[in-house]
Symmetry: C2
Amino acid sequence: MKPETITEAIKVACSSCNLRELCMPIGFNPDDMQRLDAVVATRRRIKQGDHLFSNGDSFTSLFAIRTGFFKTCVSSADGREQVTGFQMAGEIIGLDGIVSDYHSCNAVALEDAEVCVMPFANVEDLSREFPQLQRHVHKIMSREIVRENSVMMLLGNMRAEERLAAFLLNLVQRLHARGFSQSELTLRMSREEIGSYLGMKLETVSRAFSKFSDEGIIEVKQRYVRIIEPDALKKIFNPQTCA
Amino acid sequence: MKPETITEAIKVACSSCNLRELCMPIGFNPDDMQRLDAVVATRRRIKQGDHLFSNGDSFTSLFAIRTGFFKTCVSSADGREQVTGFQMAGEIIGLDGIVSDYHSCNAVALEDAEVCVMPFANVEDLSREFPQLQRHVHKIMSREIVRENSVMMLLGNMRAEERLAAFLLNLVQRLHARGFSQSELTLRMSREEIGSYLGMKLETVSRAFSKFSDEGIIEVKQRYVRIIEPDALKKIFNPQTCA
DNA sequence: ACAACCTTTTGATTTGCATCAAAGATTTTT
DNA sequence: AAAAATCTTTGATGCAAATCAAAAGGTTGT
């Protein structure tokens, strides 16, 4: 492949993924845009199952997912694992590393992936010059805090089926925002990983899938899921507003 | 009280609380320090039980707690409440509001409190001038993300007694960092609020307290708690490393 | 000082999910 | 293409925590 072709491919991808919001906040002139490109130092490919970073690794960069799908997880000292999130194209991972200069979680590719490596020093330098970039970095971190707040609500207050309904609705909504179907998805993670994220065992996840399927709310075939009755899912997740 | 006295009190408080890390990152010259004081616009007193901000309020400022104790919590549409954190002097609340310009949680004073109001526009403006302040703001947000990761581990993987042990150890450690006792504390929150934070019912919290007390690990008298055997608590929280 | 209210503790019972177990389904390896 | 490994489903059983209930302890208001 010619270098020109690669560059072209990059431009197309950046302008069509959420990453654009980080790399090129709206309202920049071409000169600024060119300088903002400097935030991305390199690309990195990660094979399915490989770690992008691990607990204890020193922190230098944030990563913007170009393609692929990741999970982040933390481990307790006695080996229990908690999946803290699933990330897809356009999302940023590595924010956990800023506070102590080393990562406190693992980021594992659930399928072959490519990320843009953004050395955090670059991000900070450019943030001081471009208030829009600065604001954007702050929003990304705040968004993650708010997301985790709602996961705490799930884990602390919701029952198994409510958790799975919320999970499916969230996943399909994010996929839809990326141009995929509102009703169909292929799960990139196992029942066990879903369970770890939602604080339940893989058998319970499987049973909840089967229950939804029996009720005609979804169609499940292994990792393929089709949402037949989105309103029923919303009602399970939140009995009040959809009653 | 004379104005001079107030100013003096402020200086003393700022240099002795964690807030200093935000207002005056280490290594600044006196001129810079003076400009950094501009980040704090005003003070605000909040009475016990009052809201510092509520879900839906428009976001303009971060708040640094000078004195007092807060809880933050989110509510589901059908009224279930999840406490997402307890905050004490020197800690920053309001980060949830950055992403969408309005708050997505409630901050409630658990005792009479005073906060420094830091208009976020000021924070961002000064961050662009002072890389140390910029770095500090990033670290504060990252720290919150990492904290929430570990709460997810608690909620997803730990049993009731492990959660309460972790909670007590975390509380006493933060109090100790503020000059309080390593072994004694007075809880500012009810059993119900502890339970909401830890994903369990108030009766379960009470039973776990009683169990620890029966085992001689702690002494409990209502909201007074004395930690008699910190190592036993650590062992409950994490069976492996302290075995 | 008393009444009203709220919080905490403790006991009895229920239940949702975990655990244990085993059989299919799917993917990977050889 | 068979064999091995992994993932998923489903059933039977057990248990930790929720729920229901009531009393005791503490706080607030008049």
